[in-house]
């Protein structure tokens, strides 16, 4: 067991059900280890992801987010992820401008056959978030212990 | 009644004495990005106080905070101590009359006494200040108020250059000012007279019946035209010293929540939405009608005096410069016209 004082980030992971969620499954069934810091939320398609949900995740105390969908061109709904891509680029610009570290925002693509890659992505995202430390909220006040428990439950 | 006259230095000393026993709020300049805004806040330093112009926002922030968690109202204010009473310094006539409106509604109305307001108000002493000149948008004298002195404040300050007359009207507070040098009543009287003469004539005169005829004005067809340019934001109500509408709501999840009380605004489209989705005030005109009628009809009907004090802040702050004086003038003209018609009918 690593040093218990080491910061273990909570990462809200939004995974599209057709590719990345399946990739997470594959990683599991092929026994590929990845850090347990992500709280997975399955969405039908990354195109369904309202940027508000991502802002809300930060508001609920997530230290970072990971969004993964099908590779461009592979979307189950043909072009959902292509709409999503523009949205994320703009959201990323906005969040960074507002003073959120870029390391907290992780966007990527993972197909259903990329279990290994998915494990790598999670590891990388966790490492990235670890470098910037805990998220203190938009007001810089941090989150209380009770809030933290609540978030753990909900995420 | 007691009259005192003191120099600026002496007032400063008085301030330092008072701040040991009271929280003191007064208008101070606050840096707000592009501009500086004069606003009431708790302070520690006499020299910060700006006496010479009308503050940009009213002392409503102090006696009726925008957000209160009941008992934790001024969280984060450095110079506020919950155990002490509060003195609000430099409150102008208009804002004092506005406090009267609050008192009428929250304390004097026997049907319900608002405890949190009453507690706060019982621990508040208002030190008024006499106005020396008119701001562009002021029209309190057109509504029958006296900008030189309001009777509702127990202590009143008259600033004459670097000297201050302090008039203590309420015996309760005479102790606080006992040690100060005495002021000459005749001198103060002369100052007041001179002020009155200097106070330039308002360009705005108003001749409406108060209360406004409820039914007639409710059905009048002028409201939509009046508010054609209104955006429907809540600026006028948030900066209004007499707007007291509030809302309760709970924040928190999963069984744990905090009850908050915060300002509401009748100019928001969601203000009167029913649970069914029906909205009896579904247009800007109807909402503005409520605002004007509340101030000039419903309040005088239920209590005493108008619920508009003519401070002009809604005029200054409105993003589209919707002028309440124009609205009142339109009302006056409408009543003049309609009144003629009606007497013909009878």
């Amino acid at each position: 067991m690593a040093d218990s004082n080491e910061f273990e980030p909570k990462i809200a992971a939004f995974l599209c059900t057709w590719c990345s969620y399946a990739a997470a499954d594959l990683a599991g069934s092929s026994r590929t280890q990845y850090p347990p810091n992500i709280r997975v939320m399955r969405v039908p398609c990354t195109g369904r992801l309202d940027p508000f949900l991502i802002i809300k995740a930060f508001n609920m105390g997530a230290d970072g987010i990971l969004i993964s969908g099908c590779h461009p061109g592979d979307c189950h709904y043909l072009d959902g992820n292509l709409y999503a891509r523009r949205r994320f680029v703009m959201l990323n610009e906005l969040m960074q401008y507002a003073g959120v570290e870029e390391e907290r925002l992780n966007f990527t693509w993972c197909s259903a056959s990329e279990g290994k890659r998915f494990a790598g992505v999670v590891k990388k995202a966790v490492d990235r978030v670890k470098t910037v430390g805990p998220w203190m909220g938009f007001d810089g006040q941090g989150f209380s212990k009770e809030e933290g428990d609540l978030i753990n439950e909900q995420l | 009644m007691m009259i005192k006259k003191i120099s600026k230095e002496r007032f400063k000393k008085l301030f330092d004495e008072l701040k040991e026993e009271y929280n003191i709020a007064a208008p101070i300049l606050k840096d707000k990005g592009k501009e500086k805004i004069l606003e009431y806040d708790f302070i520690n330093d006499f020299d910060q106080i700006v006496w010479d112009r009308q503050p940009d926002s009213s002392p409503k922030n102090i006696i009726f905070p925008q957000n209160s968690m009941l008992g934790n109202d001024y969280k984060g204010s450095k110079y506020y101590d919950d155990n002490l009473s509060t003195i609000i310094m430099g409150v102008r006539s208009c804002d004092i009359e506005a406090v009267k409106v609050f008192d009428q509604v929250f304390i004097e109305d026997d049907s319900y006494i608002d405890d949190s307001y009453k507690n706060r108000r019982d621990k508040t002493i208002i030190m008024g200040i006499s106005c020396a000149e008119r701001e562009d948008s002021c029209f309190c004298d057109s509504l029958g108020l006296d900008p030189i002195e309001s009777d509702y404040a127990p202590v009143y300050i008259f600033k004459d250059e670097d000297e201050f007359f302090i008039k203590i009207k309420d015996e309760k507070y005479e102790d606080l000012f006992e040690d100060l040098p005495k002021g000459d009543q005749a001198q103060l009287k002369a100052l007041k007279k001179q002020r009155k003469e200097e106070f330039n004539e308002s360009s705005f005169s108003l001749d409406i019946p108060t209360p406004l005829p409820e039914k007639e004005m409710f059905e009048a067809d002028i409201w939509e035209e009046m508010t054609e340019k209104c955006l429907g934001c809540g600026v006028c109500t948030y900066y209004c010293p007499t707007c007291y509408c509030f809302n309760f709501f709970w924040e928190g999840e999963d069984g744990e929540s905090t009850k908050y009380k915060s300002w509401d605004s009748c100019m928001f489209s969601s203000y009167s939405v029913h649970a069914s989705g029906h909205n009896p005030r579904d247009s800007k005109g109807k909402r503005y009608r409520n605002r004007i009628m509340h101030k000039f009809s419903y309040h005088p009907l239920n209590y005493e005096g108008l619920a508009c004090v003519g401070c002009g802040r809604c005029i200054d702050r409105c993003p589209v410069n919707l002028d309440i004086r124009e609205a009142l003038k339109m009302t006056e003209e409408y009543l003049l016209e309609e009144g003629g018609d009606e007497s013909g009918k009878d």
């Binding site: 680029v89 906005l94 401008y97 966007f107 | 054609e228 955006l231 809540g234 948030y238 589209v320």
Partner: protein, 283 residues
Amino acid sequence: MSNYDSISQEISEIAKKLLKESKVDKVIGFGLGRFTKEITPIFIKKAEDADRLIFNKNCEMSLTKYLLNYKGEKVAIVAKPCDSRAINAYLSEDLIKREDLVIIGINGCPGIEGNTACEECNIRNAVICDYSVGQEMSEEEIQAEIEGFEDEIDKMNQAERLAYFQNEFERCTRCYACREACYVCNCEQCFTDSNKPKWLGESVKLNDNFTYHLMRGIHMAGRCVNCGACEMACPEGIDVRAFAAKMCSAAEEIFDYKSGMDPEQKTLLSEYKVDDSEKGFME
């Protein structure tokens, strides 16, 4: 640089003609208040009142949003270049009909006093109009106007930016003047008024204020025309335009997209290209 008096006169004459010939029911423009002598939106219904219409450096409001109140009526509107872009956006979203609308566009807009958006504005001529007033500004003149503009916030580091916005939003009273003044904000129900899902709390706390502006910011992506009406409307002098302005510059930089340039144009986020940028994505 155009002359305000001559622009005002031109506007009045066009309005008078339109009203006299009953081509429109109403002309929306700028005029003076009855008591304050400050600029306020006015709605002219009779030809003889048309002389009240003026234009000067204090005409800070965006009039475009009023068009939504007069669906089905014939109206004329005085449009600054930024307003003309907003009108284009409304046309592209099918919110108003072109045939009901007469646009009196202002060319060579010299900018509005106190509006920081004008310092970076490079669209100084009306992009859509039926009548144009003022003198068209050439590309060189426009470049001269905006020369030396730099986004101060962009130069800050991450922590400074966060602190800057915290300091700004601290004093937000959530009166929603920015929302109501904005032409983009015409949703039937704003996310702030939504109970389910409840995106943000009703109390005026820094965290909720910040979230409100952030959410409003992302809604501005590809729609904001950077007119600065929000900033002019804010009674607390908060830099409410910053996020929207960033969305404008990012859209231009990354997707070469400028909103409201053409009535047929789709909004940024309602279309895509297969080879779109993946700026900011993980490897």
